[in-house]
């Protein structure tokens, strides 16, 4: 593209030929006021506020900067006397239509207009057309348009009816310079759905995301609704955005697989006695983690829902864990993060009373017990006993608006009643709902609690019953970050060594099928969950793949010919055992 030279307010500047003047000025840091201009929309030059003076040789003209294409050798004045005079007039005319719009009043103030000569109108739309253009050109929803002509001109939807075409993207409202367009209920809805505030369809999931890359939310992106917008494509200098990319399925051959599907936090509402979902100031540990996060909605400040700084916070351990009603297991991580919460609260709100309700303190790791001791010194309250109930039934004025925790303090042998402003529930960690389905898919198994079962708790803690399938992290059972990292390391080493081996070690208890006595009846074939047995039609024999066999022996028991036997668990061995144990 050809480069030309021009002067703005006396500064010489280089620009592309026919580049909009307002862009060139902006590059120089010269601000030209405008109401109807938005860089993502084609300039329209309707509000006239950006009027500037352009001289070319002897020719002097007043033009709108937003849509004036620069040419070589022109000289521009954005704040000349004539410009100011013209602009004043333009603003006054605008005020004659919209006398009470803040953005106009602000401009009027800037240009020293106190009492507009043509009076103040009561409309609030300056007919800049941004909304119409964004809806038509960008969003491509074509909902808004101009109607009537001359003084009666106005913006609306077809026949002034609520339009079915409107996708409630809110683009019109966001571009409207006067703020006269609002989308009813939108803000409210967004905030309710997204406790951390609205996010744009294109966003980075969270600050610590790895990889830290933007993603487009298919459901809220305008492009996926109307085919329009693509503003992001225009602005992305790296040209990294491609809306046409499709989800694809890829088949990858691998030798080993790691199942590290993580966990899910128990649903707080399932525990009725704790009133989660009923009282707004009862948070789950994850809610609190968000609230407390420096990147969170409050910037890391701890507020109650009412925006007050809490004076007392209760942290309840073992919610749903170590509880026959929910999960019998210990979730393992709660004690330590509960202590961390207490510590952070104390750090942020010095005078806040923090109560930790616990069954036992399980500070089992390196440095953990020391941390607990530190918290004791910091003045955190520890109550040994389970909270029986949380409600808001105040007994006197001082308790009003507070949450009342009732718990037995087994240390002093009495039932306590503790009013607080906020409660944090340390909910149990649970196995993923689809873990079982996944286990069938990978021929491994899950335990009663839904976590993947390791091959041996001590000797093979990262392997599963299925060769080549490994597990790590919370998918295998509750564990903290150091343990997870250690297990992940172990699992990946095990996987690597398996790959390096190039040979697979067979089970010592695999089955075997004697070809001489197998009659090919095929009864065993369908019984093997590992598809280790196949029927060889030509030979009329069942054949066993020892590498796949896990040694359960089901086929051996079922084999009507006794042709299938299991190493170390042969029929004859078991019969001898039966005889032996009944001998006396």
């Amino acid at each position: 593209m050809e480069t030309i030279k021009l002067k703005i307010n006396g500064f010489e500047v280089e620009a592309f030929d026919r580049q909009p003047l307002i862009e060139v000025a902006e590059k120089l840091g010269i601000k030209i006021p405008t109401l109807c201009h938005n860089p993502i929309i084609e300039p329209y030059g309707v509000c006239r506020v950006c009027t500037v003076e352009v001289r070319h040789g002897r020719r002097v003209r007043m033009v709108t900067a937003c849509n004036y294409p620069v040419t070589n050798g022109i000289e521009v004045f954005t704040e000349s006397e004539r410009v100011i005079r013209n602009r004043k007039m333009i603003i006054e005319w605008l005020l004659a239509r919209c006398g009470n719009v803040p953005v106009l009043n602000k401009l009027a103030e800037q240009y020293g207009i106190t009492e507009p000569r043509f009076g103040r109108g009561t409309d609030d739309c300056i007919l800049c057309g941004l909304c119409v253009r964004v809806c038509q050109d960008v969003v491509k929803a074509n909902v808004l348009g101009f109607f009537e002509r001359g003084p009666k001109r106005y913006v609306s939807t077809a026949f002034d009816q609520t339009s079915d075409l409107c996708i409630t993207c809110g683009a019109c409202a966001s571009v409207c310079p006067t703020g006269c367009i609002t989308v009813e209920g939108l803000q409210e809805g967004i905030y309710k759905e997204m406790p951390m505030g609205p996010i744009t369809p294109i966003h980075i999931d969270f600050m610590q995301a790895v990889p830290k890359k933007a993603v487009i939310d298919h459901d809220s992106c305008i492009n996926f609704k109307t085919g329009g917008c693509k503003v992001c494509v225009d602005v992305c200098e790296a040209e990294a955005i491609d809306h046409s990319m499709q989800e694809t399925e890829k088949e990858v051959d691998v030798g080993t697989i790691l199942l590290s599907t993580g966990f899910k936090l128990q649903d707080g509402e399932a525990l009725k006695e704790y009133g989660y979902g009923k009282y707004p100031n009862i948070l789950t540990s994850l809610d609190f983690e968000v609230l407390n996060n420096a990147n969170g909605p409050t910037g890391g400040k701890i507020f109650t829902q009412e925006g007050k700084v809490p004076k007392a916070i209760g942290i309840i351990h073992c919610v749903g864990s170590r509880d026959k009603k929910y999960h019998e297991y210990c979730s393992r991580v709660c004690c330590m993060y509960a202590l961390k919460f207490a510590h952070l609260i104390k750090e942020k709100i010095h005078d806040c009373e923090v109560y930790n309700f616990y069954i036992d303190m399980r500070c089992f790791g390196k440095g953990y017990e020391e941390f607990y001791n530190r918290l004791l010194k910091e003045g955190v309250n520890f109550v040994r006993g389970k909270v029986a109930e949380i409600n808001d039934a105040a007994l006197d004025k001082s308790e009003e608006g507070k949450l009342i925790l009732r718990a037995e303090d087994t240390m002093i042998g009495t039932v306590r009643r503790i009013p607080v402003d906020m409660v944090v529930l340390c909910l149990a960690v649970e196995a993923q709902e689809d873990a079982k389905e996944l286990s069938h898919f990978f021929s491994c198994s899950v335990g009663r609690d839904g976590f993947f079962i390791e091959k041996h708790p001590k000797l093979a803690p990262v392997s599963t019953a299925a060769d080549g399938i490994f597990i790590a992290g919370m998918a295998q059972g509750p564990k903290d970050i150091p343990d997870t990292v250690a297990q992940a390391g172990a699992a990946s080493s095990a996987m690597l060594s398996l790959i390096q081996q190039k040979e697979v070690e067979a089970e010592v208890v695999t089955a075997m099928i004697d070809e001489e006595t197998c009659s090919g009846c095929q009864i065993c074939v369908g019984l093997c969950p590992y598809t280790a047995i196949t029927y060889n039609k030509d030979k009329n024999k069942s054949e066993l793949n020892e590498a796949l066999c896990k040694g359960c022996g089901t086929c051996v028991a079922a084999c009507p010919s006794g042709a299938a036997q299991q190493k170390n668990f042969r029929d004859s061995q078991i019969f001898a055992e039966i005889k032996g144990i009944l001998a006396v």
Binding site: S439, P529, C552, T554, A557, F569, F575, E577, L582
Partner: protein, 146 residues
């Protein structure tokens, strides 16, 4: 061993799967839980390995009762579905045993997980009591094969 009911000490053969029930029995042991010595265990890799022949052989050898124990259904089985095979054989065997004059109560199937040492203890204790009440296996009374 005395065969009269008062001093009768039954002999119960228990087939335990390696992953759940045997480990459960192990746990009972490490937890110092006592269970009656009447229960004599045989470890198999999976309850699905238990052939009905083992049960009949045990009775023929004079067992007063047979316990088969594996991982809980439906999903605990280390081998995915061996326990179902045990379940199916169990019901069919139970239907047949009376035809051979053996009370069906002398065969029992229990799901005991690796964590249920206490259940293992309970089952053993309770079953031993039950068989004590039921009396010795009729196999001892009969003359073997004429």
């Amino acid at each position: 061993m005395s065969s009269d009911k008062s001093g009768f000490e039954p002999r119960i053969v228990a087939f335990l799967c390696n992953w759940c029930s045997y480990t459960g029995a192990d746990l009972a042991g490490t937890a110092r839980m006592k269970y009656p010595a009447n229960v004599r265990t045989i470890r198999v890799m999976c309850s699905g390995r238990v052939d009905a022949q083992f049960v009949m052989k045990a009775f023929a050898e004079g067992a007063d009762a047979v316990l088969i124990s594996g991982c809980h259904t439906p999903s605990d089985c280390h081998y995915q579905e061996g326990n179902f095979k045990a379940l199916r054989r169990y019901y069919l065997l139970k239907k047949m045993l009376p035809q051979f004059g053996i009370e069906p109560e002398r065969l029992r199937l229990e799901w005991i997980s690796a964590a249920e040492g206490d259940k293992f203890q309970e089952v053993c204790t309770e079953y031993t009591e039950q068989i004590k009440k039921l009396g010795p296996s009729p196999v001892k009374k009969g003359v073997k094969n004429g």
